[in-house]
Each structure stands twice: as C-alpha cells, then as structure tokens.
C-alpha cells in the first residue's frame, strides 16, 4: 500500500511522458541515421554534407535536436532537483540551462539550413 500525498502542479506526468516520447524518437532516429552514415561509400565533405542536404534527413535531424534539447531539459532539471537545494541557485541553473538549450536549437537550425 502506498501512502503518499500527491501534491504539485501536475507537470510531473506530462514531463515524464515527454521524456519517454523524446527518448523513443531519438532511438529510432539514431539507428536509421547510424545505418545511413556508416553506409556512406566514403567519408568526405561531399558525401557527409550530401547526407544532410537530403530534405528528409534534414527535417528529421532537426526534430532529433529539438527532441534532444527538450529531453535534456527535463533530465537536467530532475538532476538539479535531487542535488541542488537552495532555491536561488536552482533557479539560476534553470535559467542558464534554458537559455543554453534554446540557443543550441537556434544553432542547430543554422547548421542544418545553411547547407
């Protein structure tokens, strides 16, 4: 019998599901992308960038990055919750992490769409 008082804003379940959905997406993408990359006839700028110039690869690669950053946000926040108790420090880390991840998303878009 679990005797627990459940409190809070209920974001826990949503994030829990999101972390698993993003994980699943990353697993599928990782396997397909690894197969495509390891199957390249040779590793040169032409073949490597050619892979990303393919619209489908680019589209799913970008989704992969978004899934990754969302996944990492939930994961890193869980780690802060376990080890960082002072509210101010935790809040500061949350902000830094969010800024970083949003910045990475912009960077990833630039890397992929400049090709």
């Amino acid at each position: 019998m679990v005797n627990r008082i459940v409190v809070g804003a209920h974001y826990g379940l949503r994030d829990w599901i999101a972390q698993r959905a993003t994980a699943l997406f990353m697993v599928v993408f990782t396997i397909l992308f690894a197969a495509a990359a390891l199957g390249l006839p040779e590793m040169s700028y032409q073949t490597w960038s050619g892979l990303f110039r393919n619209g489908i690869v680019r589209f799913f690669a970008f989704l992969f990055f978004l899934a990754l950053f969302y996944h990492a946000w939930i994961g890193v926040r869980d780690i802060y919750m376990d080890y960082i108790k002072p509210v101010g420090v935790r809040l500061a880390l949350h902000l830094v992490t969010i800024f970083l991840l949003v910045g990475y998303a912009g960077w990833a878009a630039q890397i992929l769409w400049r090709l």
Binding site: V27, A34, F52, A72, G75, I111, R114
Partner: protein, 129 residues
C-alpha cells in the same frame, strides 16, 4: 486527504564497508552520469557538427581537430556515454512497461546493457578510426 504514514519498521543495515551498489544500481547511476556528461559536452558536439558541415575548408579543419589524440579519447568517452545512455534508456523504457522487473531479469538486463554498450563503443570506435 489522508495523513501519510512514513514511520515504518524497516530493517537497518549500515555496515558501510559491506554495502555495495548492485548491478542495476550501477547501470542507473551511469545513466545519470552519461546524460549529464552528454549535456555538458553539447556545445563541443554542436561545434564539431557545425565545422564538419559548413564548407570543405571547415571540414578539413574538423578532421584535424578530431585527429588530435586527446580529442579522440574524449570522443570515445562520449561515444560510450551515448551508447550506455541509449541502451540503459531502452532498458528503463521496458521497465516502465513492466517488462523484466523481477530481480533476476533486472540483473540480467543490467549485465546486457553494460556489455552491449561497451561492445558497440568498441565496434563503432574501430569503424570510425
């Protein structure tokens, strides 16, 4: 709302020199460590992807960066981190679906996760270099 009853009689075993982390615990903490490590190294990984794709010149520069032995060791570590996080992640997803939650299967799957992620790291590492 009912009062939570927290004070239960639980056995205590605090012989610290005899307590060791069981295999599933090792897989679990390494999953956290690998996730945190990957997170911290994201800027470096994005930088490498950026250089590898920007132009033929930047691709050549990228090649020389990843050719550095210290960078290679770092990347090999990150490859292992990804492989472990990946395999352990799949194991956690199966556990969430209540697959393999009895003690013996949980131990076996921990062993498999540790072995497979090291094997994949070696295979892909050899293939890349």
């Amino acid at each position: 709302m009912s009062e939570a009853i927290v004070r239960k009689q639980r056995p205590k075993f605090l012989a610290l020199h005899e307590i060791r982390l069981p295999l599933p615990g090792i897989v679990s903490i390494l999953h956290r460590v690998s996730g945190a490590g990957l997170f911290l190294m994201l800027p470096f990984l994005l930088y490498l992807l950026d250089r590898s794709l920007a132009s033929p010149e930047s691709f050549a520069a990228y090649k020389s960066v990843v050719g550095n032995p210290l960078v290679k060791i770092l990347l090999l570590g990150l490859l292992w981190a990804y492989m472990h996080h990946f395999c352990a992640g799949i194991r956690f997803l199966l556990l969430d679906l209540h697959k393999g939650i009895d003690l013996q299967s949980a131990r076996n799957s921990s062993r498999i996760v540790l072995a497979v992620s090291i094997a994949l790291t070696v295979i892909i590492g050899v293939k890349l270099w």
